[in-house]
């Protein structure tokens, strides 16, 4: 999977601004420093909420369309 630079990084920054993820620079020997992102507690909560509402949404859609899970 390849991310496009113009969509990935602004998205990451936005998530970070909202406090859902947090990035930090990590330096390893003989390598350039890289930025790693991890979910914050708030981010996990939001993720859970959004997953939940997505599931509801999907559930609602499947009920309307009559599509059953395989």
């Amino acid at each position: 999977m390849r991310f496009h630079i113009a969509s990935l990084y602004p998205l990451l920054y936005r998530l970070e601004n909202r406090g859902w993820i947090q990035g930090r620079w990590v330096e390893k020997p003989n390598q350039r420093r890289r930025r790693y992102y991890r979910l914050t507690a708030q981010g996990q909560k939001t993720l859970a909420q959004q997953r939940h509402s997505w599931k509801e949404f999907v559930g609602a859609v499947s009920r309307i369309t009559g599509v059953e899970h395989a």
Binding site: I5, A6, P10, R34, R35
Partner: protein
């Protein structure tokens, strides 16, 4: 390979990011591009192809636009979504605080009213809490009080009845001290004993405690000035007469003289040297009432009464309460077990005196309040705290009403704030800051009110013993309490008005003009509900006060079992003037003979006990009523009396005879008992001729008479047993002279004093109590309690009626236009008056109704504390309701009158 960083920074031109942020982005993105480049190369492309592909992906993207959106929002709103907030909490708080202070300064009338109202409520709470704190929570100013335990003899062991705690004899205490493994030090102190102090020709009486030499060291107390007892000062009986005086005695009796150390004072006619002054605030182990001075135990014979003269050598003489400091790491249970072993050994070794005795330990903070007073004190404290809590609640709802009224005036301000984007929570916080600030200001003032209140209350201590009473003292507990109450108060009265205000409909409010602001019906409803609650609560407080007032009135008229009218008691302790036995006996007879001739004196007698101050003693043996086990101890009041005691006191005989001249030393030992004892031990028999034995005595006494049971310790107490023994068979050197007069004793008393002075001019005869004064003293605590209840009740009434007045005046102000129209259409003054009055009194009467229901419920709980009246005593309920209705009527009438005098023209024009 191109320089990715440069490529990216070209893309970011025009974004105007902070330099460091820009560097970060460039670095992160360049890594991405580099990775991408390597990936493409690894896929088989040439470096040129790869560079081209990467660069095209960069240049054909809308990276700039995306980043612009992202970074712009980041700059404007760094706060995560979900929290509507303007910035730093603390900075906001400071702003709110400053704004609140400005608002309060701008409306001095409102601020003063609110602060005063709350301060009264908080002050009442502070005063009561200070006393509770002094008595119950933090009673002893000693070092590490948790290590200290009080040690007593438990007389009846293994019984279901509550253990009867008695002091420990000096010899037993000494054994415990030498044999225990749990105390780092064990001291002993006697109960309070009265002494005669002679300074020049004048003599006064004061309270002393006989203590072992290590008493102060055990408690861990340092002297104010001078020193405490040395080890060798408490070794040889009667050898070294030294004394430590209390701080209050030093300040009061000796005027705080700086040369007090080394001074000699005469106590019971023995010269004592003052070696030190106890620190301020230390008044012995008892939390309520303490001694003026402390005497080492080796001087016990010189200061204790004749019956206790052999306290140091008689193992049966229970004189001292132990005060031990536990070694570190020793628990109370462990100590109890260790001492019980010693007690068992002592019981085996000295069966005559120690049979049936063991020891009981308790934390000294508990022993600081005598068992019989503890429960009452605790209940009283909780009750008073509840009462003042209610008073504060009324004050809070008053201020809440004031705030609601003010909120109407501030609707526009709040609407403007909301229109400018203030969030609801932000507004509530702002308003709450204001009320908390009000609360804190009131807390400061209330603290002083409370402190003054305590001082005022101290004035009501009986003057002659005021300095023996513990002083209410302020400490960290009180400060924290006031702070918490103040903050809490601020929140309680602030929250409802703040929430209400923050719901202001913006558009409507902005369009309104100031004068007509706030025709919001619901706000009035909330205010009315608060008001009704206030009326109800203050009625409850008034009814409670009335119930207790009537109860105390009844107690005054209660029959104590003897005639209190025209009776006087003279405390004369010839033994304390150095009289020997012959001289004392002669003195008793002399006084009786000479005073009997004074006109106006009906009869007189001597007795050891003062009415209502009689102690019970345990260990009486009744012949034919053998103890089933050794723990079954008979306790009774024992009173040594002279001839004619019963006729002087007005206690009727039920059977048998009074003591006579013939009941003297050498004749058959006799006793008179009360009918309570007779029915307890000789229910179906004639007690006359039966025999009993007093504790510490060997001979059996024959019962020759039965008298009616009286009250011995408190008014209206449960009947107690009492044994009377004749003075001639049971010598005592400290007796009370009872004189019965034919009429009011006031003028005759001085004649009697002169007569006694002519027998011995050095005897102190200032301590005279009349029968009525005795009842007064017995009811002192109850009277103080009722006084407090009354004060708090009327405080509540005052606050509630001020609140009522405020809300009525506000409502009249709001309805000016309506009233103007009514009057323009022909409504008369009286109809407007009754309209407003009706509105107010409807509220009040519903409040009274609610209050009556609450009072009846509360009365059920209170009924067991009331004497002589039922919990639903009609006069109390009716009286309290009438007082409240009357005051409320006045509070409603004033605004109503103003409304009825409105000029309709003016009212309509202005609105």
């Amino acid at each position: 390979m191109p320089d990715w960083k440069q490529e990216i920074s070209k893309q970011l031109v025009g974004l105007n990011l902070p330099p460091c942020r820009e560097q970060e982005i460039i670095e992160e993105l360049s890594i991405h591009l580099e990775d991408l480049y390597e990936e493409i190369v690894a896929g088989g492309a040439t470096p040129e192809e790869a560079s081209r592909e990467v660069l095209s992906s960069l240049s054909h993207s809308d990276l700039l636009a995306e980043l612009r959106v992202t970074e712009r929002t980041a700059l404007i709103d760094p706060i995560p979504e979900g929290v509507v907030n303007s910035g730093h909490l603390l900075a906001d708080l400071w702003l709110d605080f400053r704004y609140a202070a400005r608002m309060l300064r701008k409306t001095p009338g409102f601020t003063t009213a609110a602060v005063l109202t709350l301060a009264l409520g908080i002050g009442a709470n502070t005063a009561v809490f200070t006393i509770v704190n002094t008595l119950l929570l933090n009673p002893l100013p000693v070092e590490h009080a948790s290590q200290l335990v009080a040690m007593n003899t438990a007389v009846s062991k293994n019984t279901r009845e509550p253990v009867d705690l008695r002091p420990i004899s000096f010899l037993n205490l000494k054994d415990y001290r030498e044999k225990n493994h749990v105390f780092s030090s064990l001291a002993g102190y006697s109960s309070l004993t009265t002494l005669t102090i002679s300074t020049g020709p004048e003599s006064q009486r004061l309270f002393a405690e006989v203590v072992t030499g290590n008493y102060f060291d055990t408690l861990g107390i340092r002297p104010q000035i001078g020193r405490f007892f040395l080890r060798d000062e408490d070794v040889t009986p009667g050898a070294i007469p030294v004394v430590v005086i209390g701080y209050a005695a030093w300040q009061g009796r000796f005027g705080g003289a700086s040369d007090i150390l080394g001074r000699t004072i005469k106590l019971n006619n023995v010269a004592f040297t003052i070696i030190g002054v106890a620190p301020e605030g230390f008044k012995g182990v008892n939390a309520i009432f303490g001694p003026d001075l402390w005497v080492p135990s080796m001087m016990a014979e010189q200061v204790l009464t004749a019956q206790q003269h052999n306290a140091l050598v008689d193992r049966a003489m229970l004189t001292f309460t132990g005060a031990g400091r536990l070694k570190s790491g020793v628990s109370l249970a462990h100590a109890q077990a260790d001492l019980k072993t010693i007690a068992d050994a002592l019981e085996k070794e000295y069966p005559d005196t120690n049979q049936g005795q063991t020891v009981s330990l308790e934390p000294i903070t508990e022993a600081a309040i005598p068992t019989n007073q503890r429960q009452g004190l605790l209940l009283g404290s909780v009750f008073l705290m509840a009462i003042v809590g209610l008073v504060l609640l009324i004050a809070c709802s008053n201020v809440a009403n004031l705030l609601l009224a003010r909120a109407a005036a501030r609707r526009q301000e709040i609407a403007v704030r909301m229109a400018l984007g203030a969030g609801r929570w932000r507004l509530v916080r702002q308003l709450l800051t204001e009320s908390v600030l009000l609360g804190l200001l009131s807390g400061i003032l209330g603290f002083f009110f409370g402190y003054e209140g305590c001082q005022l209350l101290s004035l009501f201590r009986p003057a002659e013993v005021a300095q023996n009473f513990v002083d209410p003292h302020l400490n960290a507990n009180v400060f924290v309490f006031v702070l918490v109450v103040a903050l809490f108060t601020g929140l309680i009265f602030g929250i409802a008005p703040a929430l209400r205000s923050s719901r202001t409909p913006i558009v409507e409010a902005l369009k309104e003009e100031t004068r007509t602001a706030g025709r919001c019906a619901r706000r009035i409803t909330l205010a009315n509900a608060l008001l009704m609650g206030q009326v109800a609560v203050s009625l409850v407080l008034l009814v409670t006060a009335a119930l207790f007032l009537r109860s105390v009135q009844r107690e005054y008229r209660m029959d104590p079992g003897f005639e209190t009218k025209n009776l006087a008691m003279f405390m004369l302790y010839p033994g304390q003037q150095g009289y020997d036995r012959t001289r004392t006996e002669h003195f008793y007879k002399d006084v009786r003979d000479r005073l009997a001739t004074v006109p106006g004196v009906a009869s007189l007698s001597w007795a050891t006990n003062l009415p209502l101050w009689q102690r019970t003693e345990t260990g009486i043996a009744v012949e034919g009523h053998e103890k089933r086990n050794k723990s079954e101890a008979i306790s009774s009041v024992i009173n040594t009396i002279d001839l004619e005691y019963f006729s002087t006191m007005g206690i009727p005989f039920l059977a048998g005879r009074d003591f006579t001249e013939d009941d003297r030393q050498g004749a058959t030992p006799v006793a008179i008992i009360n009918d309570n004892m007779a029915s307890r031990y000789w229910l179906d028999q004639n007690p006359l001729g039966k025999r009993l034995q007093l504790p510490g005595q060997t001979e059996l006494r024959q019962i020759v008479g039965v008298v009616k049971t009286a009250d011995y310790q408190t008014l209206g107490e449960a009947p107690r047993s009492c044994v009377y023994v004749p003075l001639r068979q049971n010598y005592s050197d400290s007796m009370v002279l009872y004189v019965r007069f034919e009429r009011n004793p006031e003028q005759i008393i001085s004649a009697l004093q002169g007569e006694i002075r002519s027998i011995d001019p050095t005897l102190p005869i200032n301590d005279i109590r009349t029968g009525t004064k005795l009842i007064e003293q017995a009811l002192w605590g109850a009277k103080i309690g009722v006084g407090l209840l009354g004060v708090f009740g009327f405080l509540a009434l005052g606050l509630a009626s001020i609140g009522l007045y405020g809300i009525m005046a506000f409502s009249v102000n709001q309805r000016q236009r309506e009233i103007g129209i009514r009057m323009a259409l022909g409504a008369g003054q009286s109809s407007v008056l009754s309209l407003i009055l009706l509105q107010g009194m409807t509220l009040v009467t519903s409040g009274v109704g609610l209050g009556l229901i609450l009072s009846i419920l509360l009365g059920r709980t209170l009924s067991k504390f009331l004497y002589g009246i039922g919990a639903s005593d009609l006069p109390s309920f009716a009286g309290a309701s009438l007082v409240l209705l009357f005051v409320a009527m006045v509070a409603c009438y004033l605004p109503a009158r103003r409304a009825s005098r409105l000029d309709p023209l003016v009212a309509l024009r202005e609105n």
